[in-house]
């Protein structure tokens, strides 16, 4: 199976421009016989939207641009990020998995970073779930950026049976040291390797690049296989189109060798969590 990560720099607040960008990259991916194309978080809108968030939100059930992306998915399944206006009128930071002109799943970001340079909690409603869903390539699950830094989210995808963990991201780099990358890039890589290895699942992490209001999106998108080995990585900071061949059989092979999933005890974890939550001190 061929997976492509589009490490792009969307134009802030310009859906039409970004739609074109998606279409152009999809055409390129098609030429290279890509089976699954993944775009970063908020790839259709850009990230630092602030008060533009509400104006740029689209309803996945009726929006014209969303329909065009569905059409695009007839040629090849794709994942992209957008600002979603829910049926309840709330605004979410969402990623959609489209295939054969259908929406297979929309994930609404649960963990909205609202600290330091981040203010997502000010502009977005939080999603409430981490669901796995069936794809032409087996069970998959999605996370958006900061979701992935909460390993409980990855556990839910693991317990839900995901073999393909798709993480879309708009992660700025922080911290310059003696290294030729941002200090924070290694944090994502550490989590990627660890989650892949201990979920016995593929991890596709698609980060964006470009600058918005002085934030430097760090790129460095990567793919880890279920053994926790790095399959491919895009450069830091620069645009890239990363294509990698992966072997889906590795999920099964690895799960036979290391039965983490067979021996998982979600019931015990669930009961323990209930007790922990119940005994929270006021």
């Amino acid at each position: 199976m061929k997976v492509a990560l589009a490490q792009i720099a969307p134009r802030l607040g310009d859906i039409q421009h970004n739609l074109k960008l998606h279409q152009n990259i999809a055409a390129k991916a098609k030429k290279e016989n890509v089976d699954l194309l993944i775009f970063p978080e908020l790839s259709l809108t850009g990230y630092t939207l602030k008060d533009l968030t509400q104006d740029i939100a689209i309803d996945a059930r009726k929006d014209a641009v969303f329909k065009k992306l569905k059409v695009l998915s007839q040629g090849m399944p794709l994942v992209f990020g957008f600002v979603e206006e829910g049926e309840d009128g709330l605004i979410y930071n969402s990623s959609a998995f489209l295939s054969q002109g259908q929406t297979l799943h929309i994930h609404r970001k649960v963990f909205l970073p609202t600290y330091g340079m981040f203010e997502e909690g000010k502009f977005f409603a939080q999603g409430k779930n981490f669901r796995t869903f069936s794809t032409p390539f087996g069970k998959a699950g999605m996370m958006i950026c900061y979701d992935f830094l909460h390993y409980g989210a990855s556990y839910l995808l693991f317990a839900g049976g995901s073999g393909l963990n798709i993480i879309t991201s708009a992660a700025p780099g922080r911290g310059v040291t003696g290294d030729s990358s941002f200090a924070t890039s290694s944090m994502w890589e550490l989590m990627g390797k660890t989650i892949a290895r201990f979920s016995s699942a593929f991890v596709f992490y698609c980060n964006r690049v470009g600058l918005e209001d002085g934030k430097v999106f760090a790129g460095g998108s990567f793919i880890y296989n279920p053994a926790g080995n790095l399959i491919a990585q895009a450069p830091y900071v620069d645009e890239d189109f990363l294509v990698a061949d992966i072997d889906l059989e590795e999920i099964k092979t690895f799960r036979k060798k290391w039965p983490y999933r067979r021996d998982d005890k979600p019931e015990i974890i669930l009961e323990a969590l209930k007790r922990i939550v119940k005994n929270y001190e006021d």
């Binding site: 310059v176 470009g210 002085g214």
Partner: protein, 270 residues
């Protein structure tokens, strides 16, 4: 506090290039003082935009700092950028002739604002965006003139401490005599930053790095080997200069207030 100079150069040139293109500018303009910071900003600007698209203004106050003017000229010549020299003493002197002052700091601030005023005028004449030269050390200590040398459109140096700028300067090939010279704000003849602040940049940057970047409490910074008076002085300077790092305060009386809950990206519609 070591930085990887090639990586930092790459990020900062990308920043300059992208921001200018978003605002549909091809050219950048900056004041060249002969000091380290403006030299580094100029080198970065040239890497990002090409020498033909960078304009350096040399804005001396009469004969006060002949050697600085020569260093500024060296930077201009090394980079082969277009430059213009404007002596600010006629404007500044005329003002103080009418409104005399014996306060040399006040005079220095006026000079800094005179330079700002010329830079903004030339920004318009040349359709060139003003590239800032204030480093993180100065911004945190408030060691700059508000609406003077701190004024600019974009500031590539704002998240680098002075000692990190020195590392970057060596990599960029800034002339050695500019890199090695004693830092001065040029507010009056013979002034040096370190004398005025009573601390070396090395000490200041290490203390700032622990307090700000590493979020270390004051007591721990002192315990790690820095004199109490020095740490306290730095904290006092940071607190005292917060207004220089903010937009002016607005009483929030309407349903939606500029800068408070009317929030749009800097790169809005760019």
């Amino acid at each position: 506090m070591k930085i990887n100079a090639p990586f930092v150069e790459k990020i900062l040139t990308k920043f300059i290039k992208e921001e200018l293109s978003k605002f549909q500018y091809k050219k950048g303009i900056l004041g060249i003082s002969g000091g380290l910071d403006s030299a580094v900003s100029a080198f970065l600007a040239v890497k990002a935009l090409g020498a033909n698209n960078v304009i350096g203004l040399v804005l001396p106050y009469g004969e006060m700092s002949r050697s600085c003017e020569k260093d500024a000229q060296d930077v201009v010549n090394t980079l082969k950028i277009r430059s213009k020299k404007i002596d600010i003493s006629p404007m500044v002197d005329t003002y103080f002739k009418h409104h005399p002052s014996s306060d040399r700091r006040q005079k220095g601030n006026k000079m800094a604002r005179e330079r700002m005023s010329i830079l903004y005028d030339f920004s318009e004449r040349e359709h060139a965006l003003i590239i800032g030269t204030s480093n993180k050390t100065e911004l945190l200590l408030g060691y700059g003139t508000i609406h003077g040398d701190m004024a600019c459109a974009i500031n590539p140096l704002g998240d680098l401490y002075k000692t990190q700028i020195r590392q970057l300067a060596a990599y960029l090939g800034v002339p050695e005599h500019v890199r090695k010279k004693v830092p001065t704000a040029g507010l009056w003849a013979g002034q040096t930053d370190e004398d005025e602040l009573g601390l070396t940049y090395k000490e200041i940057d290490q203390i700032l790095f622990l307090l700000v970047d590493k979020r270390m409490p004051r007591e721990k910074v002192i315990d790690s080997g820095f004199a109490k008076e020095k740490v306290n002085k730095i904290i006092r300077l940071i607190k005292g200069s917060e207004f220089k790092r903010k937009l002016p305060l607005i009483p929030k009386i309407s349903e939606r207030t500029v800068g408070h809950d009317f929030l749009f990206p800097y790169d809005w519609d760019r």
